[in-house]
């Protein structure tokens, strides 16, 4: 009874303090949007090239490092941003040329391992160029809170959430409305069909890796502004992975909704149940949550019923 009571107690807590709950939920949504942003990077690349890009996390770090590094060297913020974008696009070209093209038609697991290799390389490279110490990234928005209808809202988190929301919308439009976006969707379903549209696979890969790089940059800026640009940034990729189980490797809406769900779930669990088990459960809770969800709904969030053919 005691153990069960301890497990159930947080519900009473929630009911007792709805305002706090709301704050927790808002925090969860904000974190969730960031997860969604990182997850989007995965989804874009996976959808277009079938590559499980483990380097997405290190791309976040690398983008943020580059931006901060440039700003530290006195480059104006906007120019630094433009330069970083250029660097990320250049990186996409380099990856396509050096890693993807020679490995075309290899088994997905080989490509996956190659992206882990890429992770090592970028980590070493980033640190070599920009140094290994923690850097502050000032985006001009103070990390302070204000009250709205009795709720404590963090300015930075709000800005991050808004940016994420805007980015997600832009990407959705990009996929729905532009020619290349449609080609990207097609390529995910059928490589040959995509080729018949007339866009070379090579171009598609460069585009998705560039877009993923930009998404990584956005995530890097927001995360970096919040907790400083440091090595641990590359680990947020791991946080985005449960989102992929939940939302699917190829679903853009899945990544967004999944991200928010994971963000909220994780925050709630951390705040209300974490103390019961000594805390620090955010490392694994998201995974367990995603798995639990799968047991109930095997096809995931937006997956259709799977009909396998023989």
């Amino acid at each position: 009874m005691g153990a069960l009571g301890a497990v159930l107690a947080p519900f009473a807590e929630m009911a007792a303090s709805p305002l706090f709950l709301a704050e927790v939920l808002i925090g969860g949504v904000a974190a969730g949007l960031l997860y969604a942003l990182v997850a989007l990077g995965f989804v874009l690349i996976f959808k277009a090239s079938g590559v499980f890009n483990f380097a997405q996390g290190v791309m976040v770090l690398f983008a943020a490092l580059t931006l901060v590094g440039l700003m530290d060297r006195g480059v104006p913020a906007l120019l630094a941003l433009a330069l970083t974008i250029a660097v990320m696009i250049l990186l996409a070209f380099a990856i396509e040329r050096v890693v993807l093209r020679p490995l075309v038609n290899q088994a997905p697991i080989i490509l996956f391992m190659a992206t882990i290799g890429l992770t090592f390389f970028l980590e070493g490279f980033g640190e070599m160029v920009w140094g290994a110490n923690v850097k502050r990234l000032d985006v001009g928005i103070p990390d302070t809170s204000f009250k709205v209808a009795g709720l404590l809202v963090n300015r930075l988190e709000l800005a991050a959430a808004l940016t994420a929301a805007v980015l997600v919308t832009v990407l959705a439009i990009f996929f729905q409305k532009t020619r290349i976006g449609r080609a990207l969707r097609a390529v995910a379903d059928d490589h040959e069909a995509a080729l018949s549209i007339g866009i070379p696979l090579k171009t598609i890969w460069v585009v998705v890796w560039s877009v993923s790089g930009l998404v990584a940059l956005a995530a890097g800026i927001m995360w970096g502004a919040k907790s400083g640009v440091q090595f641990s940034l590359s680990l947020i990729a791991l946080k985005a992975l449960p989102v992929l189980i939940l939302g699917g490797f190829t679903s853009v809406p899945g990544a967004i909704v999944g991200g928010i769900m994971i963000g909220i779930g994780e925050k709630v669990a951390e705040v209300y149940w974490g103390p019961l088990v000594g805390g620090a459960i955010e490392n694994w809770f998201a995974y367990v949550m995603a798995l639990g969800f799968l047991l109930v709904r095997p096809q995931g969030l937006f997956g259709e019923r799977i009909i396998e053919r023989v």
Binding site: L122, A280, Y287, V310
Partner: protein, 357 residues
């Protein structure tokens, strides 16, 4: 070229299905075994401690992961977690029952890991491929977190580390501070040899075919009569057993003491690298992969010195990381099927020499 196969004919299925059907290979294997047994007599302590022991220990883990990923086709990123289970089980068991032979403790730890592996293998019945890979991360993070948080696992040691207590086999100290590298090496060698043989036996027989059937064509396999539940969970069980024993060995024979950090996600990736670089679906590849992945950083660390380059420590570290990553990518491009395939091709070339194919 070396092979002389004319006149080697098989008159029983047993000889036709032998692991090494060609006599020349049997001779070669015996030679390797003899050399491996004689190594402690000649190798320096550094080589034993820094190279040979870890190669053997990691090879054990790589075999475990290879059974799961290479043979049964279930991609796992939870190796570190399963190894942690083995290590902490061994620690708990040997401190609780100090009189039990440490080898028995290792095996028992493997069984514990095996049970944990089955539990975390359950999602494989529902999901495949990268979904499963991500799901196995749950095992990785949860298990490491568990051992970190629950002080019982470390016998409430304030440092949070587990330390290998001194234990002997046949009167020779094999773990703990007094165990010589040679003794630890021999234990690791014998364990990995025996279990590599067992793994080979498994994969060439009924259960191996079940796993490979699931890997190659899961639907056809099911229609042939393979039960996915038993096929996949047996793969998780056997694989985790190997990882568990490897985890115990890692602490008891190699590191001496460890905290949970030793079993983090990096370890999972390291072992996965070994399996991929070694060659999926090859027991031999697990050894080659382990050797390659462990020797590469040693080589990279020493390379600048060798050419007389003096680099700042931090820069050397970063360059090493870059070189490691770049070499991995390079290797995957050059030989995506791994060292075992290279070995196999060279062997075929030798057998067919002077013909190219």
């Amino acid at each position: 070229m070396i092979y002389r196969e004319a006149g080697q004919f098989k008159s029983t299925y047993a000889s036709d299905q032998a692991i090494f059907p060609i006599p020349q290979d049997r001779v070669f294997v015996l030679l390797v075994a003899a050399v491996a047994l004689l190594v402690p007599a000649v190798a320096s302590e550094y080589w034993l401690q820094a190279v040979l022991i870890p190669v053997l220990v990691y090879a054990m883990a790589a075999i475990g992961l290879d059974l799961l990923t290479g043979y049964a086709g279930q991609l796992s990123l939870g190796t570190g977690g399963f190894m942690a289970v083995g290590a902490y089980s061994a620690f708990k068991l040997t401190t609780a029952f100090p009189d039990v032979n440490i080898i028995v403790v290792f095996l028992a730890s493997g069984l514990v890991a095996s049970a944990v592996g089955i539990v975390f293998g359950i999602p494989s019945l529902r999901i495949k491929g990268f979904y499963l890979a991500v799901a196995t991360l749950a095992a990785q993070f949860f298990l490491v977190w568990l051992f970190n948080k629950v002080a019982w696992f470390v016998n409430y040691a304030p440092s949070g580390t587990i330390t290998a207590p001194p234990r002997s086999v046949l009167g020779v100290m094999v773990t703990g501070p007094e165990a010589t590298p040679g003794a630890r090496y021999l234990v690791a060698l014998i364990l990995v040899a025996v279990f590599a043989l067992a793994a080979k036996n498994l994969v060439r027989g009924r259960v191996g075919r079940t796993w490979m059937a699931i890997r190659d064509r899961d639907i056809a396999a099911e229609i042939i009569g393979v039960r996915p539940l038993s096929a996949k969970l047996s793969a998780f069980a056997v694989s985790s057993f190997y990882c568990g024993v490897a985890g115990a060995e890692l602490v008891f024979l190699y590191l001496g003491s460890a905290e949970t950090l030793a079993f983090d996600i990096q370890l999972s990736f390291l072992v996965l690298f070994m399996v991929i670089i070694g060659g999926l679906g090859s027991i031999l590849g697990s050894f080659l992969g382990a050797a390659f992945i462990l020797l590469l950083p040693i080589f990279l660390t020493n390379a600048p010195h060798a050419v007389g380059l003096k680099l700042p420590v931090a820069l050397a570290k970063q360059l090493e990381l870059m070189a490691f990553g770049a070499l991995i990518v390079f290797f995957l491009i050059v030989e995506p099927h791994g060292l075992a395939r290279l070995w196999q091709i060279s062997k075929e070339k030798l057998r067919l020499w002077p013909f190219p194919h």
